[in-house]
Symmetry: C2
């Protein structure tokens, strides 16, 4: 951390004046330096060609520092992953901070360092940003918005419209890890575990898969808030219109969950299907490539536990139906209410 | 407003589950509907060609509803204007909400309606979004991030590097109006006035000026937080390196300020040069086009009070120097500390 003449963030750091400039020049600009950010204009000028994906997410996770990461890398990885889920190669991120008066500069610096590391790992550039400060008690340490731009992969054709009966549903890794890691340190819930969040950039794996399988990858989604159950319900719902209405079958025995996560879920009476993930994606792929897709994914970073967990069916259109380990079948609905606020 | 079975925003509306879907489908998606947003994917797919400007801003203004507008239209206009200041034609916006539990649906709806109206007036599409909810006391009603993408105007060549000795400094309208309108309703400061914020989209005027004057427009900046004084100081500072260091001379008598704003500033002991603007831009233009530029600007929306207020000089490099109405000269520094927090 650079030597600064202030230890905590004050309202003045959001004024746009000398203190804002001091804050940015003392740390942010140097740390995140790249030719585009260095122009210090109101926006960045990019060269883009062809089809481009654009996405945004605000991160309000609590606590800001959690086992396995902090809000900074989460904000980079989350938006990188949203772009990857569109079939795009993430290129540029914006960074909007809403800081609460009283945040220590040491904490802010740690978050900035994580942002830098995460953007390097994902291969994206932070090209433009904004910093606001709100009074104590009008925010919660730090909220971060990242918006992102990516270039569509030339072989990508990702759309819910491409989902067909017989398609296989692949999950890229163990589910529910992020949510349970956050719960383990949440006030009033603390329980002993060595679980860490799975926050990770998924774009490199997705790129390799699109290179090899191209349009046989029909849909990609990352099951963050609301978990696997909610995302699959959204897909079933969106394919519940028009001529070819579709349902989704899941096999509980095939869904990868770490023992420790399964144990913690049981302890708290939670279904891992509803718990948030950060380093996991769902892929709906053509049946003829499904096995090869999973084999390939298992060789890639963050894909070692990949598995086929279900398929798209013509029955029960609009619904997700789970076959349990002991053979029973039940409808899996979308998450009702709030399982755990501010999980991302 | 559509008929809903809830009146206030709860944490569940940020869960990603049924309540989030209800909130979005009951109102947001319908109101802001366009083909790109309607895909409901993690991101939007855009067709872009050539050079593109990308910008972000978070809006935390308090109060959320103020004379002349609300945070919704401010968030659209602000990002539209940042794109225009890059010499770009704004095209697409993202919209990230951080809602405080307890915000009424009626207030949220009013803000959404303003967002719709503002994006129509500016000619931009909201193409992707995100909604988070934080507990009561961890936010302040609503924070909004808008990020934006625009296509660079083919004739634009906007850069601080293009600023030269002799260039004229043009302001597009009366300064300090937004800041004084907000102050007039700020708790502990209330004073009687009919002032309203000048929040407005400046992109149409900028487009017309770039069409006509192209690369003779050397720099564009909107003096929001920190006001005209801070932005001109940033420009002087950025041109205070290398071989051709430059200063800025301002003529107080030429700076347009509404009488009511000047009066309110005097009452509060504030210098209008430091007060925030939302519907005003500064242009630094080649001297040979300056008069024609101002004449044209005066015929355009929001440009009726445009004036040449100063020029770029070889003297006092890095400094902004004001000649007062009575002929005195003083250095105008960047805003120190915080004049009024959360002005945008």
């Amino acid at each position: 951390m650079p030597k600064l003449d202030f230890d905590i963030i004050t309202l003045g750091h959001g004024s746009g004046g000398i203190l804002t400039n001091k804050l940015l020049e003392a740390g942010v600009f140097d740390l995140l330096s790249n030719p585009l950010l260095d122009t210090h204009h109101d926006g960045a000028l990019l060269n883009l060609t062809g089809r481009v994906a654009f996405t945004t997410d605000s991160y309000v996770i609590s606590p800001v520092f959690f086992p396995g990461g902090n809000i900074g890398e989460l904000a980079v990885n989350g938006t990188v992953n949203d772009l990857a889920m569109c079939g795009a190669v993430p290129k540029y991120l914006s960074l909007g901070f809403i800081l609460e008066e009283g945040l220590t500069m040491a904490e802010f610096w740690d978050i900035l360092v994580s942002i830098k590391g995460a953007s390097e790992r994902a291969g994206v550039q932070i090209v433009t940003g904004d910093t606001k400060v709100v009074e104590r008690g009008k925010g919660d340490k730090i909220f971060i918005n990242t918006s992102g731009i990516g270039e569509l992969h030339p072989k990508a054709d990702i759309s819910v419209k491409n989902v067909r009966v017989g398609d296989k549903i692949v999950v890229s890794g163990n589910i529910a890890t992020h949510g349970m890691a956050i719960m383990s340190v949440r006030e009033g819930l603390e329980f002993e575990t060595t679980l860490t969040s799975d926050t990770a950039p998924l774009n490199h794996a997705v790129l390799a898969l699109l290179d090899e399988f191209g349009p046989a990858v029909h849909l990609l989604r990352d099951p963050t808030r609301g978990g696997v159950a909610t995302v699959l319900n959204e897909i079933a719902r969106d394919r519940n219109v028009g001529a070819t209405r579709l349902g989704i079958d899941l096999k509980q025995a095939a869904i990868p969950v770490l023992d420790e996560v399964a144990g913690a879920c049981e302890l708290l009476g939670l279904d891992p299907l509803y718990v948030a993930n950060e380093g996991v994606f769902l892929a709906i792929v053509a049946p003829e490539v499904a096995d090869a897709f999973v084999q390939k994914l298992r060789t890639l970073e963050y894909g070692q536990s990949a598995a086929i967990i279900g398929e798209v069916v013509a029955e029960h259109p609009g619904q997700v139906v789970l076959t349990s380990r002991i053979g029973g079948r039940r409808v899996v609905n979308m998450l009702v209410g709030e399982q755990l606020p501010r999980i991302c």
